[in-house]
Structure formats: structure tokens, C-alpha cells
Amino acid sequence: MSFLSVRNLTLRLKNGPRLLRRVSLDVAPGEVRGLVGESGAGKSMIGKAILGILPGAVEIAEGEIWLDGTDLLSLPPTERRRRIGATAALIPQDPLTALNPSHRIGPQITDRLVHILGWSRTDATARALDLLAEVHIPDPERVMRNYPHELSGGMRQRILIASAFAAEPKLIVADEPTTALDVTVQKQILRLIAGMQARHQTALLFVTHDLGVVSKVCQRLTVLYSGMVVEDASVTDFFAAPRHAYSAALLAATPKYTDPAAGLLPVPETVTASVRAEVEAFDRAMDSAINERGLADG
């Protein structure tokens, strides 16, 4: 049974184009699923939809998001937020903007434990100190009293990781958690997240550009193109033989993780043209289905 199950999720800009096209993906308890695709494919949108933080301009046209046996979209907004806060967490992309500049580190980790989960201050503080030690923060007592601007980017990302694990969530969404960091710290942070995930047995949805990272951290992966799932496979199967032409091209274009800074090489034009045609065919089918339904209703 999956802990997270996204079913046929379709997002669109209000009165505008679709951003996600019937996306379905599952993450089992303790499993790590990679979510790859080029920039603008809609990877972050999936994470935002799960965590209930979609931008105001985006609406959910269709779909279900099952988290721990409840369809989040069927809950009233306040209840949905509490449910998400109690069971899921986000490791954000940019540690420099993800901490509140006017609060000390301590409360930014402990407040959720105290106010959402009802822990005592003392317990929450002890827990935060443990976690900070676990993410290798030197002198956690002092760091708890620091303001974000007094710490380096790598330190801040460690703190955000500790904070994400604080409430023992069953699911963590990590949205490119290393791209904003210095290349030298990227590996450490990656190893840290993988280690924490293994120890806490958290389900992890890992958004990344980098298939090299996927091969190291994930058990399953979803390849997204223009808001459409083109491949959903186990990592072993995928790296042995990708099924879709686009994901095959993506894999061929990835330098063999020796040079993470190089990023992706371009996918050949013929491949993108054919996958774009698939997307257009999908949209046409959806639109005509909507029109027919509209005619039947009218």
C-alpha cells in the first residue's frame, strides 16, 4: 500500500494552459522516488500540490492526492493543512530564502512540534538538539540561538533538513535540495539526506535534474515531460533499458555522473518533437472529452 498516491492530477493556470496532465505516481512507505524532467516540466508543481502550497494562479482541474489513506483534496482547507503538517515535510531548494530572517533557528525547528503536535517546549528543544547533532551541526546549543544570516548556506540547508525530519514525517518532498549549494557541499548534503531517509525510514519524493543522483539515492523514478508522465519504472529497470524514447534520450544525454557541474546535454530535436506531439494529442483528447461532456450537460 502506498503512503502517497497521486491519481490523475491535472493542474492548469486559471483559464490557461495545463501544467500537469493526469499525473499519477506512488511512493511506498520508506521508499525513495526520483522525479526527473527538464526545467518547466512541472516537477515542483507536483510537490507543491502534495504539500498544499500551489500558487494562487494554479487550479486543480482533476485528480486525487491520497496521503496515508486520505484524499487530501476531499478535506476542508484547515484540516488539510494540519494533516499535511503532521505527516509530510518539505526540504526546499534555496536554503538562503527558506528560513525566516527575523526568528532564531531554535523556534523555527521546534514551533511545529509545539504548536501542531502539542509537544512541550523542553521535549521539542531536546529533539531539535538531537537532530542538529544528527545533521552534523557543530555546537547545536549556540546555533539554536543564531539568526539565519549568521550561518552559511550549507549550515542552513542542514538545519532545514533537520527541521523537515523533526516531526518524524512519513513523507518528505525534497525539491532539488542541492542545486542552490556550492558544488563541494552538494555531495555531503545528498549523502546526509540519503542517510537520514534510511535511518528514519521516511518515504521520499526526490525532485532533481540529475539522473546520476537518482541512480544513487532512489529505488523508483518518474520521468516527466511537459506535465506528462512518460516513464514510471524501478531504477534498475530504467538504467538497464528505458522504455520511452524521451527518457532514453535523457539517459544518453546525462554525463556519467563524473561531472555533476556539466548538467544535462540537450535531448535530440527529433525526440522532443515526437514527445511534444504526444502532449498535444493528449490535450486534444482532453479538450474534446470536456466539450462532449459540456454538450451533454447543456
Binding site: G52, I53, T78, G85, A89, P101
Partner: protein, 336 residues
């Protein structure tokens, strides 16, 4: 360290500013026609009488010499003698200062409460009719100047539904046990709530008139700033933690959103203090502003000079207070 540096810089610029103000006010009011001495004497006084009084007040010397005498006195804390009341200017002015300070601060508090409430409500219900209604109210409040609000309030709550006093600072028949002129503050300290209520009931209308335009400015600026802050990453992250929207606004966004607004509110507050001159007149409130108008009517040159200098001191003090507050509220500056 940062705070000390701001203080030192400010003290230097303040001294220069005040000197400039002193020069301008001294010479400008002497360009305006009208001889204060001639106005004091009864009709039928001879040229000799006028000359004698002129000499008494030093008005027969050259302008530059007069300025020198006045300035050296000011430096020693002697602002001269009021021509109309024949009392030391400093004592007169300081005696009225508390009334104006209490009025301005009460107005500021009302403005922050009203403006803050409008901004928070507008942010909480952004994109709905509630926000649109608040925007309209802000617009109306801003497009009417404070003294017209004063007239409106006098009509509404002084004449139509007379629940507040609209004249004076305190009911004259009351026995006042105060040793300072901070009536509002001292009545509270002495726990004379009866007097306090009477004073508040006198102050509320003029304070509200002063507060309404500032409240609208605070409401608009703070809401704008809050809405921008609500889209920042750390606010989004806080939402995923399960907090309700109201808590996210108050706890995550408010403080950071208030910082950029603070400086502008400080500038606006000095305008509000300037507004007390007319509002005090309108409500016959015995403060500095009312005294300033009397002094101008009577050509009481030393008194005008004293009041203008005091207003200049208040303005610079407000600006300094805003800068310090900004440094205290902003952790980046506090530790720099």
C-alpha cells in the same frame, strides 16, 4: 556598535539642522510686516513710548546683532521673553509641550491600531470583497485632510450624537492634582481614572482626526508589504508545517513586512505632528500648535522662534527614534 554610530551621526546632523532652522525662522518672521511693540501699546502711545519698548526688547539693534544676542542666549538655554505674556519663552513652550506630545502619540497609537487592523484583515482576505472594501475605505480616508476629518467628527460626535468633548483638554471645573503637564499619563499613574476618562474624552476626537489619514497610509503600505512577504519561501515553508493562515501572517510575515513600512510611517508621523497646529486650534486644545497661532497673530517674535525650534527638535527626535527602532527590530543590523 551600529546603534552608537547612528546616534553620533545623528547628533552632528541634528545640530547643523537646528542651526539652519534657527537662521531661517529668525529672519523670515522679521521680513513679515507688523511691529509687535506697536501692537502691545494702547492706541495713542507716542513715538517715544514705542522707541523705549523697542530698546527694552533689543528691537532697535541691527538684525544680525539681534540674531547674535538671541542665539547666544539659546545656546545657554535662554530663549528670551515672550512679548505678549512677559514670561520666559522656554517655560511657556515646555509647559505646552506635554499636551501636544500626548495628543500626537495618542493619534499615532490610534493610527497604528486602525491601519494595522486594516492591513492584516486585507491580507487575510486578499482577493475577496473584504479586501476591496478596505481599499476603498483607505482611499476615502486618505483623500480628506485631517482638519476636515476634525470638522466631520465635531459634527458627528460633538453636535449630532454628543458623546465626546470637542473643546479644550479637560473639563475646566475639575480639580487637577497634577504636578506635571502630562495629564493623560499622570492621571493614569495616580489611578485617577475619573480624570483620565475626562481627558481621553477630550483628546479622542482631535487624535482621531489626526490619525485617520495616517491610518490609511499605514493600512496601504503594510498590506502591500505583507502581500509581497506572503509569497516568500520561508512563508511557504511555514504553510507546509500546518499553521493556519492567520498565524502565518502574524508570526511569519508581519515582522518582516513591518520593517520597510516603519521608516515611511516615521516620516508620516512628523507630518501628523505638523497637523496638530490646525487641529489644536479647531478643538481649542491648549497645546503648542494653538500657542503658535496666537504667537503669530500677536507678532510675538521670541515665542514664535521658540516654538519653531522646539518643533524642529521634535521632528529630528522622531526620525532618530525611527532609525533606532529599525536597528533594534532588524536582527541583521543589531548584530552587525
Amino acid at each position: 556598535m551600529q546603534i552608537l554610530r547612528i546616534l553620533l551621526m545623528r547628533l552632528t546632523t541634528t545640530a547643523i539642522t537646528l542651526l539652519g532652522v534657527a537662521i531661517i525662522v529668525f529672519f523670515v518672521i522679521r521680513v513679515v510686516p507688523g511691529n509687535p511693540v506697536a501692537m502691545m501699546l494702547p492706541p495713542g502711545a507716542t513715538e517715544d513710548d514705542i522707541a523705549r519698548l523697542n530698546a527694552l526688547y533689543g528691537l532697535d539693534k541691527s538684525l544680525v546683532a539681534q540674531f547674535g544676542i538671541w542665539l547666544s542666549g539659546v545656546v545657554q538655554g535662554d530663549f528670551g521673553t515672550s512679548i505678549t505674556s512677559r514670561q520666559p519663552v522656554l517655560g511657556l513652550v515646555l509647559g505646552r509641550l506635554p499636551a501636544t506630545l500626548e495628543l500626537s502619540i495618542m493619534a499615532l497609537v490610534i493610527a497604528c491600531l486602525l491601519g494595522g487592523a486594516a492591513a492584516l484583515t486585507g491580507t487575510r482576505y486578499r482577493g475577496t470583497r473584504t479586501e476591496a472594501a478596505i481599499d476603498v475605505a483607505d482611499g476615502v480616508a486618505l483623500s480628506v485632510p485631517d482638519f476636515l476629518w476634525g470638522l466631520v467628527l465635531i459634527l458627528l460626535f460633538g453636535v449630532l450624537v454628543p458623546i465626546f468633548h470637542i473643546s479644550g483638554r479637560v473639563t475646566p471645573s475639575l480639580d487637577l492634582p497634577f504636578t506635571t503637564n502630562f495629564y493623560l499619563f499622570e492621571s493614569l499613574l495616580r489611578l485617577r481614572l475619573d480624570l483620565w476618562a475626562d481627558i481621553v474624552s477630550h483628546m479622542f476626537m482631535p487624535a482621531l482626526a489626526l490619525a485617520i489619514p495616517l491610518a490609511a497610509i499605514i493600512g496601504q503600505l503594510l498590506k502591500q508589504s505583507l502581500k509581497e512577504t506572503m509569497n516568500l519561501d520561508y512563508v511557504t515553508l511555514a504553510r507546509t508545517k500546518g499553521y493556519g493562515e492567520t498565524r502565518v501572517i502574524l508570526r511569519e510575515a508581519l515582522r518582516n513586512a513591518a520593517l520597510p513600512t516603519l521608516t515611511l510611517v516615521g516620516v508620516q508621523f512628523t507630518f501628523l505632528i505638523g497637523g496638530t497646529v490646525i487641529i489644536e486650534r479647531l478643538f481649542s486644545y491648549e497645546g503648542l500648535g494653538n500657542m503658535a497661532i496666537d504667537a503669530v497673530i500677536n507678532r510675538d517674535l521670541p515665542l514664535i522662534q521658540g516654538i519653531v525650534i522646539l518643533f524642529a527638535v521634535i521632528f529630528t527626535a522622531v526620525n532618530l527614534a525611527v532609525d533606532l527602532l529599525y536597528a533594534v527590530l532588524n536582527p541583521r543590523l543589531r548584530h552587525a
